[in-house]
């Protein structure tokens, strides 16, 4: 169907978006690269000359580097796990006949509308505060010692907060996918005496695989960059310093732009490793 004419027209139409994004990516990227080879300390007069790979070496050799990579992967992995598992369960439940499905759906998607800063503040102060938080009250009500969530269980706490924000998204995608599932197929399986778990494993889950990959892909993109949730709750203490947060500390708290930029380059590399890895899986699934 594509004629030569429409092909060049297509290229023309794609141009603005591609050029803009290329600019958006390249200009800061090049600046980051340049800074990363410099001693650039804004509080000491700015650009203090070239230093070769010093910033790169210093960034990885810092004791904070590997734990930050681990924290990043833990948070991303933990949130993905929780949102996908609970998303599937919730989607199956919401797909059952019930009264007031529309209202329940609104209740479930509501967290997605809340600004990350607000949700972090609300969780931190009104729920996870070990003295005045609602969870502390709940714990005391049952006679248990309240947990100081953000220090004793810092990573799980962050995972909970972020999962709460992203569960609506996962649930909705999976719900939409389940709704397109062929009911007759399930009924036939039920007639044949397949137990619910088997029906789920052999029919529902394979049907959802594409939706699950989409959830993973899009969430990973956003989760690698989470910042507000950590800034507001722990400020990077108690092992919650992600790579993004470490870069933030280098650039803004230590005011060492060169070092932070080197970290930025590492983060880009990590993101691309994750991206390539994801694309491999998703690429196959995207056409389906």
């Amino acid at each position: 169907m594509a004629t030569k004419h429409s092909r060049s027209a297509a290229r023309l139409m794609m141009a603005p978006a591609v050029i803009l994004l290329l600019g958006w990516m390249l200009v800061p990227l090049i600046m980051t690269l340049i800074f990363s080879f410099k001693r650039y300390l804004p509080l000491r007069g700015g650009d203090l000359g070239w230093v070769g790979f010093e910033n790169y070496v210093r960034f990885v050799s810092s004791s904070a580097f590997w734990p930050s990579v681990a924290a990043t992967l833990t948070i991303v992995g933990g949130v993905l796990l929780i949102t996908v598992i609970f998303g599937v369960l919730l989607a199956i439940l919401l797909n059952q006949p019930m009264w007031g499905q529309g209202v329940v759906r609104i209740l479930v998607i509501a967290p997605f509308f809340v600004m990350p800063t607000v949700s972090a503040l609300v969780w931190k102060n009104m729920f996870m505060d070990p003295v005045n938080g609602l969870l502390a009250h709940l714990w005391r009500f049952f006679g248990a010692e309240p947990i100081s969530w953000l220090s004793e269980a810092s990573l799980p706490s962050i995972v909970i907060i972020v999962s709460w924000q992203w569960l609506p998204f996962a649930t909705l995608i999976l719900l939409t996918a389940i709704q397109s599932l062929d009911g007759e197929q399930l009924e036939a399986a039920e007639m044949d005496g397949a137990p619910p778990l088997k029906r789920f494993g052999y029919i529902t889950l394979p049907h959802l695989s594409r939706a699950i990959t989409i959830v993973i892909l899009i969430q990973t993109i956003f989760l690698l960059a989470i910042f507000a949730e950590i800034f507001v709750t722990t400020g990077g203490a108690f092992g919650t310093r992600t790579l993004t947060y470490l870069i933030f500390q280098r650039v803004l708290e230590s005011q060492n732009v060169g070092l932070g930029s080197a970290g930025g380059v590492y983060a880009i590399i990590l993101a691309n490793i994750v991206a390539i890895f994801l694309m491999r899986i998703v690429g196959k699934n995207l056409d389906a």
């Binding site: 509080l43 700015g46 003295v131 220090s151 500390q249 060492n256």
Partner: protein, 435 residues
């Protein structure tokens, strides 16, 4: 009537223009503390007097710091006046980023500023920021609980007494913790507190050659003492408690003692917010037995004008207004003497109205007990009591305090944290070219 008003306004305008000052619109970045919020509410008084209008950018402390530092370092010029602290002022002043405030009018009476505050907000004898309010740290304690415990608070207690008293006051069944202290990560939060505590145990951040001193026994003593005392008598989860958290604990009657900023005194004695308002006593911050330094810090929130602003004259007018004696009178008139911004001016403490405020004298004594030029027992190459006035400090101290907070949360030992602190501080100092 409306004609009369218009006439009035016109006259006012002429007056303003006649006095040579063009009406400007000032953008002021400030922190969302109570005293600043109060100042925002009183802005109209400034506008009436000078014709200049003001737009406030009010931000939470961490966001504010990040915002103004980026802006001044990149010379963004987003703000005509910035609210900064005693840490930033000398560094920025040395970089030539701030307008000198030595030429404020005679009416303003700059000599009335408390000498300690003035020294901390100057670089090479030039004043770069005018203190809006100043603070040190002191002990606030529950007189009723102290009595119950059968103890009496000395004027200047030692840490050893504090620990004993804290244990005696603790009553876990009734949700009363003998002592509440900051453990929250961040150089201005738990970092500041543990630094003054260490000072009062004879420790220091750096030796004269900028070598980190966390491997010295004084630091281990201070940290072990702090952790031991907090485990005996501190609230659960103190590793995430900062000023705010402790304030609300104290106001709810859940703390026997609290050592923190002197400005907290007006909050804990305010019956509107505090359930223990009439049972609070004050004492000087403690020192360890035999050590000559107390755990007193020195801090001021101050107003500064970034170099390069187009509205320097108007900005200075605002600073003269906001940090003047008249402003203090204005607040006293509207909100009572207990709520005026404290710790900035000598004359305030000579005012009989203010001397009647229960915490006034102790606040002044605490401020006078802190010496930023001579903060530790052993000599140091830096200025600053609870901080080290070098650009790298905020980053380093935040990381160090994160290691300490991990100790408070039981995630590592004191020795591990000190070893990490030592390594990361030396590493950062090397990167910055000190060593």
């Amino acid at each position: 009537m409306s004609f009369k008003q218009a006439l009035c306004a016109a006259t006012a305008m002429t007056l303003v223009t006649a006095s040579g000052a063009l009406a400007e619109n000032l953008v002021i970045a400030t922190v969302n503390n109570g005293d600043m919020i109060r100042m925002q509410g009183l802005t109209q008084d400034f506008t009436d007097k000078t014709g200049h209008t003001v737009e406030w950018v009010t931000l939470e402390e961490n966001v504010l710091r990040q915002r103004v530092t980026t802006d001044i370092a990149a010379k963004g010029g987003s703000f005509d006046i910035m609210t900064i602290g005693m840490y930033e002022t000398p560094i920025w002043g040395a970089n030539g980023w701030l307008v000198s405030l030595d030429d404020l009018s005679a009416d303003y009476d700059a000599d009335d500023i408390l000498p300690a505050m003035r020294a901390g907000l100057s670089h090479d004898g030039t004043l770069y920021a005018a203190p809006f309010y100043g603070e040190s740290s002191m002990i606030m304690y529950r007189t009723d609980l102290m009595e119950q415990a059968g103890l009496e608070m000395p004027e200047a207690p030692t840490w050893q007494f504090i620990r004993e008293a804290a244990a005696a006051m603790t009553d876990r069944d009734n949700d009363i913790n003998g002592i509440c202290l900051r453990g929250k990560a961040g150089w201005g939060e738990g970092g500041a507190f543990i630094t003054v505590t260490a000072n009062s145990f004879g420790a220091r951040w750096f030796d004269e050659d900028w070598n980190a001193q966390f491997d010295q026994p004084e630091w281990a003593d201070a940290l072990n003492f702090f952790v031991g005392m907090m485990e005996e008598s501190g609230p659960a989860g103190y590793a995430t408690n900062g000023f705010n958290e402790n304030l609300s604990l104290f106001q709810q009657g859940k703390c026997g003692m609290w050592i923190d900023a002197t400005v907290a005194a007006s909050f804990v004695t305010n019956p509107d917010d505090s359930t223990v308002a009439d049972k609070v006593g004050f004492a000087l911050a403690p020192n360890s037995e035999g050590v000559d330094k107390k755990a007193n810090w020195l801090w001021a929130w101050a107003l500064a004008v970034p170099a390069g602003t187009q509205k320097e004259a108007a900005a200075k007018e605002f600073i003269e207004w906001a940090t003047s004696k008249d402003y203090i009178e204005l607040v006293a008139e509207n909100e009572g003497w207990a709520n005026v911004p404290p710790g900035a001016r000598t004359s305030l403490y000579e005012n009989p109205n203010y001397q009647a405020v229960p915490f006034a004298q102790k606040t002044l004594d605490s401020i006078l007990a802190a010496d930023p030029n001579n903060p530790t027992v052993k000599p140091v190459p830096y200025v600053g009591v609870q901080f080290v006035a070098i650009p790298e400090f905020a980053g380093i101290a935040t990381e160090v305090s994160q290691e300490f907070s991990a100790v408070y949360a039981g995630q590592q030992t004191v020795d591990e944290a000190l070893a990490k602190a030592q390594a990361l501080t030396n590493d950062a100092m090397e990167a910055a070219g000190y060593r």
